[in-house]
Symmetry: D4
Subunit: 249 residues, 8 copies
């Protein structure tokens, strides 16, 4: 953050920008009032990654404007989650480099060269859990982490998981995504030595109650070293995994 | 049942018992009004096992009287569940052959020679689940089944279960008892080919909500061939296992 | 399973297939990675029936590919549940012998001659419970069981059930399907001697809470010998009934 | 009510009581402020029966004082519910005619000759439901109704109920009390033609959730003509039954 | 019922109908198997009113056939609830005398002259509760009761209710319908002397939870003489009111 | 209210209106029966503001008629909430001065000159909470209060809130609107000295359960001086704020 | 607050206290670390009343020490809630002027002369609600407000409330306390013009669910101007009422 | 693990132990059957820390035997949680070096020299949360981590937290413990850059529902980088923090 401030002050000193412009740029390092939103532009300095755009409840036009502003003031990737294709297309008209992931419904706008460190493994139980698992994977990748995937390895056919137990043990952080009974994180947590982030999904029916069943399973896990995020919160899991993965760096 | 009726009629014909006594005995084959309870004495003919005594909410004296009556009219074992030691001692004063299982808090009053058929395996996740697991095992044994036990094999140390997978495959019926996250039946159901009766227990804390968490886990299991009974209902699991085990006999 | 392995080895020995083909076939006996899914092809050897296809959350194309693969590697019937008509038509274009059941929304692809053993009786409470009851019946039939149906026999008109009590007593396994108050399994369990699989449905309104009411009723049943499956889980009930029905065979 | 007012006015006119005494008596016909309680003394004129005393949360001394006051101002029976034996004994020291029912924990203080009209039948499912069933029966009797009892007739042994179906059809109002699965009111409602008041009890364990299970069962009943009261609310059921029973009188 | 049987026997004796026809007619007095439904035709003899048709979950064609059959075998009004206009029109093509109530979405097919006895008062809290209130009113009218309505009298403007307290006291049975906070039955129960049937509706938002809030309010009412039916169950309330209203007749 | 009555009596005395007209006008000061609704026209005298129109569950035509009647009999602003644009347009055809707020979906029909007193501050956590926050603001404005807005100040970027803590301390009443975790009222309540009205919104997903999560957060707040209204109830918050703001006036 | 700072600086200037003592006193104006607690001594300057002591979960010794410290640093009354008699006696040994209210289990330690402004009316539904109502009243009194009480005025006997409607209209703030069905705030809110703070209590049984029923009733109230606090939170209600009552002062 | 195996083999080779002893020691490296428990002795090799002893549901004697066995086979600290003082004293008689922490009710049996790496900060909201916070701290310390504490910093007095924001930013992992509204993790997560483990506690009353309220708050947090563990699960939080803290080592 200090670098950025110095840079602004230098520009003022050299009269490259006016004092008013300098003031505005300094203010925008903290927050940026757009009327319908007050962007927390300081977040990239505080948390290491700019504010992500959670699309539901915002108009397409608001999303586009926020994306542009974040892309402008940040020197890192910008991420938008739960975006429809039509939102992506609107963003793309303004920022052609924006990329869309259909499965996870995420938009990523890249900036500069990407580092790719550590080893995050995303494990999922069933085919229907893919959108959440991909949201986690894309988020972690956008934040500069190396991510591997191991999908459709539910415990109804346990040998699918056991045959890959070496990969479980090599990961530095594990994200385990499961709906239905939410059993997978307990089993993975029993096999692996690294922190496990458990993500319940709303996949299921009947007494699943929109993901309540796997959520409770994961919170009550008798395996150690498991932290739980909200139902379907792939973004939150990817974010937390990134913080853990980059903690020692 | 026909045998019993014939026997009564024969006794009447031979004047071993009076017509009034015969009438009373015939009536008692259906139900027996004890004022505070109307025993379903017909149940042994209909379901193959007499009504069991669920002790909570009954006075010790009522339990003793019901046990005596059932023992008198039935030609099979009598079972009382959730009994305290003081209840057992009161029963014992009247029926000295009564046996008590401290862990499962069950009383069994045996009658005649016991058959012991089939192969029911009771699997439990943790040490705290023992009372429920034992209630299931004692119930199934009292109903004339061969029962094996495999205890403390939770998935936090999966090798404990996998090392005994052969026993899982040999059982004709499996009863799987688990509290906390209730994960064990899903894993066992993924390994074994026989019907699995899943029993959630109220063991746990916090978001366990008195056994709700493992109950939901088991109802939502992605493994096939699992039927669920009420939380802590070891009796119900043992009963159902007995019906399945003896179905082909 | 040994037969299958021998057959492959023989084909390799006789050079009917190459070593690489043999290796691939042996691997496919355990699992089969299709990218979006990792089929548990070993399940037919382990559980006696191949993995069934739960359609929600999968694209039509994925379902068709999975159905083709399972049909290819399995020597038994293939079952897909909760399938729309358009899914069936897509499957049919690839596998013309596929059959569709409109009420239960199931697809069955038959293979070879069917055995039809035992006696499973599916009882349902109301007309609106038919889709779930039929899913149970079709599943059990697809797994090689003889299935009878007794529909619309709710306890509001108890004589409809009592007049058929003989059929209740003759079944080896009973599946009892009910929404609303979920009372039927308790009544059937009081009359019949065989294991009862209770299936709550989401039929109802108000304090039914999407099937929670009948689910709780069934879990708390005071009749013995009842195992419960998830709300609307006709497939699970049919599967469990099949395991019980064929347990002694 | 007019009679009472006339009587007071006459006493004033005849100078049997002073004007101040007359005023106080007139005021006490509406309510009576005792500091910790404001008795609704008008209730007997409005609803036909004086305010009953719900004991929990009141001190023994408060209960005694309220009982004395109600007994004084009312010309009907006074009823106190959920009273311990020690409360009864304290009341008895002041009003020796008070009667105690140990099972239902009710105190009744009778006044004058009792009418006993109509035909209310109280049916209960199990022995543990007796306290609630008796609270209903005692309440209805205290309000001047003829009450019959039919106890321990749960559906696990349906013949116990069916053998007495005539009594079900002859009652003018039925109160049906059940815990566990709460199935009995649905079955009774299918057999009887009169209004059924369903009372769930908190008897049960596990997924009974303190009576929630039978409450939901009864609210969702597919039999017609059923009204439900709160869990364990025997008093409320007896009161409602009395209003219905005496509606045409 | 005896009259009907005699009539059939007379027709057989007089050879107006054949023995087979007589047999079929006798059987149809108990139940009538239509494949997808097993009509409880005996209900009119047992409960005093034929089975009503709950339309959701049935096809239009099934509803029409059931309505025709019930109209044919019953000598009373036939009622169908929760019917759309298109269902009504289909019924109307077959039975032109069918009547439709748009607000309550009920179809009534009348038969012969109607009695109209007693005095049922339907009170509702808000305009949005009208569909449920009307379902109750139409049901009670179809069953031969005199019904009055008092709508939009919520307690936020208590004088609207108090100004009509005389009507509250004159009714023999009260049906009180309310969503939101469900307060109205408690207030009405405090003012009126007759039985109150409380009907919670799903009208509301937020912490209303689909009618759970008013349901709990009504079950916990501190006014006496209140029975509760399921959320939105106007039919059930009208039916119960009819049984109470005609109890003394 | 007395002024209005005097005015009517004067008009009668002066024969400006007939006695019948006077009677009707006096009656309409209490309530006004429109068939489908019984308007509480007395509310403006009792609560200081006329009954507001909650649109869901009413037909467009009913809303228009109610709006016209309230506008006619009231000398204050009329407010309709949760109105769609098509409702507004229908109202506008009859009352052209009606104003629509698209975000909050409110219609205001102004009357005479507006006072604008005190200082109500509406604070909201995120952009998606705007509709509820605006409903609160518009309601308070329509009731004659001065309202300020401070939007998108969630605690994930706490400096956005802290930088405006002076405004928090100057407000006489605070309305704090938040979905997701509902944390904002606790933080604001810790900083400000005035009463805080907390409004949970249904914004969120997963374990948010339609606003239950923020509702519980707010009810359990460890900051003092917080009152909570229903989920999404911006209207109720604005109304309560107005009563508090004008309490001392 | 400035007065206090000036006073300290003056004492330093006059050498009445040392610089170290002055520093410590200034720091203690913000917070005071007692090891097991970090007192928010700044609260009295920020919120107008010092931090209150919530006794559960604290040892008696901790409570005594905290009370002494708050009494020392504050120039206002100190309040401790949910205190047992033995806690009071321990406090009393250190601060003899401490007062105890048995019903509400509150301790008040007064300081200087009390103002007593405005007009807060505490209304409660039943005798069992007294502890919560008194906690509210005592809290408001301790904060310098004039408080009136109107107890046991539940709607089952509505005339008790209506006869005192004038008092309802004269209060500047109303606190309405109710358990069971929680109906009272809706009725009071319909009659009174001032802000209503609704306090649900855990008084009740069965489907009351520990106060959930009245909580939901109050949140869904169709009367305007109601803010709700947590179940049994008399303290919170008294605090909020004080802020409102003193808002204009 | 290989070192341990080599050591055993060497001892066998050197005849220091017999082949039977060697076999037993090798077996005990995987699990150890004690009848009532099957210790997962392999866990220390797999997860880096031996199985901890959760005391509830185990007899004192069982706990002592398990502690002795774990202490014997492990070369690391042994931890027992939720232990009463009497349990500690029994352990102490066998293993005098055992240490007890009264607040957190934990027993630690140390082995060899302790490493103490990284920087875990445990933050708690209130004094009543101390037992859970201490369980987390003691667990992390027992696993070889450097732990700091920052207690009683709830957001009702936000300056207590803000004044220590530097410590928040320096920690490598944060454990944030809160009951009541559970707001603290959201605020800390907004300020700090490191992973936050949120621990809801069951401290609270009313609509806290045993910790459900703070649990939901934390799962729905709008701050990023938060993982949640079960209510009151200090052990789980300390364990997860240790895995994260030592991930890069």
């Amino acid at each position: 953050m200090k670098d950025k401030i110095k840079q602004i002050l230098n520009q003022v000193q050299d009269s490259q920008i006016s004092i008013d412009e300098g003031l505005q740029q300094l203010e925008q390092m903290y927050s940026c009032d757009m009327g319908y939103a007050r962007l927390d532009t300081h977040r990239q300095y505080r948390k290491g990654f700019p504010e992500a755009i959670f699309c539901p409840g915002k108009t397409t036009d608001q999303i586009v404007q926020i994306a542009k502003k974040l892309h402008e003031v940040s020197d890192q990737n910008v991420l938008a989650t739960r975006a429809g294709r039509e939102v992506y297309e609107a963003v793309c008209r303004e920022i052609p480099s924006a990329e869309f992931n259909e499965t996870s419904r995420t938009i990523v706008i890249r900036k500069g060269v990407q580092r790719s460190v550590g080893n995050i493994l995303v494990v999922s139980a069933g085919t229907s859990d893919l959108p959440v698992a991909e949201e986690a994977a894309v988020t972690a990748e956008a934040m500069g982490n190396k991510v591997e995937r191991m999908y459709d390895t539910g415990v109804a056919g346990l040998h699918r998981l056991l045959s890959q137990s070496e990969r479980l043990q090599q990961a530095k952080v594990l994200i385990v995504v499961a709906g239905m009974d939410g059993v997978l994180p307990s089993v993975v947590g029993g096999l692996a030595a690294s922190p496990v982030i458990a993500v319940p999904t709303s996949v299921g029916y009947g007494a699943n109650f929109g993901g309540l069943a796997p959520l409770l399973t994961m919170l009550n896990s008798c395996s150690e070293g498991i932290g739980v995020v909200n139902i379907d919160n792939g973004f939150g899991a990817g974010y937390l995994a990134s913080l853990i993965n980059q903690a020692g760096i």
